[in-house]
Amino acid sequence: MLNFKKSVLMLLAIMVGCIALYAAPAMAHGEKSQAAYLRMRTLLWYDVEVSTTKLKVNEELVMTGKFYWFYDWPSNIAKPEVAFLNIGIPGPVFIRKASYINGVSGTNSTRFDIGETYEFKVILKARRAARVHMHALMNVKEAGPLIGPGRWVEVTGDMADFTNEVTTLTGETIDLEHYGLVNAVKWHIFWGVIAAAWLLYWIFQGPILIPRYKKVKLLGDEADDMITPANRMVGLVMLIGTIVVVTWSYFNAYAQYPVTIPLQSGQITIPALPDAARGVNVEMIDARYRVPGRALEFTIKVTNNTNSPIKLGEFTSANIRWMNPEVSQAEPADSHDPVASNGMSYEGGAVMPGQTKLLKATCTDAAWETYRLAKLIYDPDSRFGGLIFFFDEEGNRSVVAIGGPLLPVFI
């Protein structure tokens, strides 16, 4: 016959074992989870780089890049009236030493303009040992996080060696890792002891539940007499004592910290970068997604108002890059960097200065499927978007946003 307790314990052990075996560390931040049209037509990141992918605790890493707020912003997504440049990491593996948008400090939330380009720089200091997939990230109020390209970064060393010292405007140098903690814990212990004494004062007066319940019911309206004058005196001392200690602690803290300021909450507006198109105009003529070939094919009318011939070198959208290796080359930075090194080709050749020309481009790669962009044709808003990069013979780059309806080709 089965022992009931043993059976329950065995079932629990099996359950815990299954959960432990099944649970895997989170390796991504949902970069594939949002609908394709949202990823392609909101924030388009490019030129994102990290200064190093291996560093020790207390060493610094710099992440740089650019982002473009897509001109055909989905109407169901809140516009970036209030947004905050962030970093996607699992907890404070790094501290953010500084962040800049077009050279302006990004400590405050910011308003951005649709259709404009900004560059960013985030300086991070390694705090604890970990191997993390770190993303550039833009939080947009009422829209949510718009995630940028990610990089695997490995931090080694001991978190105990980490310090985060700053000097206040009152001249004191403090370590933010521990600052104010002893004082706060001291006060919590002080009040905790008083609270415990007050509770124990009652609990150790013998059995308190059944006898007191019976007495309350027996005495009825006279039950208040159960509270003795001595009990009330204890209450009075506790009330006066609490008010005296709180008052003293309040004024003592003011004496210790005579200069204090409220929490800061300002917001800023940062001017955009100059137009990255540099005189190249593009008009979308036609775009189709060929399902069997996993290929985006689009035809564009390009007008070159620069002084040099230009060629199409790259298409990027939703943090994926399709490269035309004859014009521009790039390789994946790590195993999770979606770069199709030979993913792009086009017909039409160079566009001469002053010339207007039709170019037909094809962007092919399994990333359309693995990054769930092919699902665009099943989205409620089947319009695509992205950036195309033109290069002249000297390597100068023109970045132009393109987008429009996307027709699927199933056969």
């Binding site: 903690l181 905790g192 609270a195 509770l199 539940l209 007191r212 009330l239 910290y257």
Partner: protein, 249 residues
Amino acid sequence: MSAVHSVSAITTAEQQHRIYKAFDWIIIPIVVLVVIGAFHIHAMLTIGDWDFWIDWKDRRWWVTVTPISLIFFPAALHYLLWENFRLPFGATLACGGLLIGEWANRIANFVGWAYFPLNMVVPGEIIPMALCLDAVLIISRSLTITGVLGGMLWGIIFYPANWALIAPFHVPVEYNGVMMSVADLIGYNYVRTGTPEYIRIIEEGTLRTFGEDVTPVSAFFAGFISVLAYFLWLYIGKWFSKTTWMKRI
């Protein structure tokens, strides 16, 4: 058979005392655990970030929201313990339990799992408010007076009781050309992916303040609403402490 049932197994006063004491030792720990769990969930859902983060503890919203939200359980426990047992420690029991839950959560989750520094996530101090509420009850022996005087004191005393803890975090710092408080800087330094700066609901400045300081207005408002909330939750406490099915004890 009926004669057998009418004979109690307890035959001496000493036995009765032992049984009553054992009942205390069974029930009180269960009540404490239930209070810790229930009050903690309530606090996380209604106060949440205001109590989690040092850079949310502002002088307007934190001061207003916390006392109003936290008086619910003390009021309900006041009714339960006072009306049935004439025990005046409902507020201290609730707030002490909440702090045990909060400290366990901050140390295990925020520091142990997510590696935030502990000074960033120290919970607000609420014991002085609870002591005052209990003290007014035992002195006055009246839930009505406790609601009016104690409720107002509960709201007013919250900010002064916490200033000793948070004042160091309001010292100004110049950082990358911007003036911030130490608390702001901690919030900026220690990256929170899902909690961007704009999500903070803190004082943003308004024309409708007395002079420059908004705290007294917020504290009195919190006290006023705490009075109303106290009476509302007395009734909820009454509803939860019915003894409909207990015919005799």
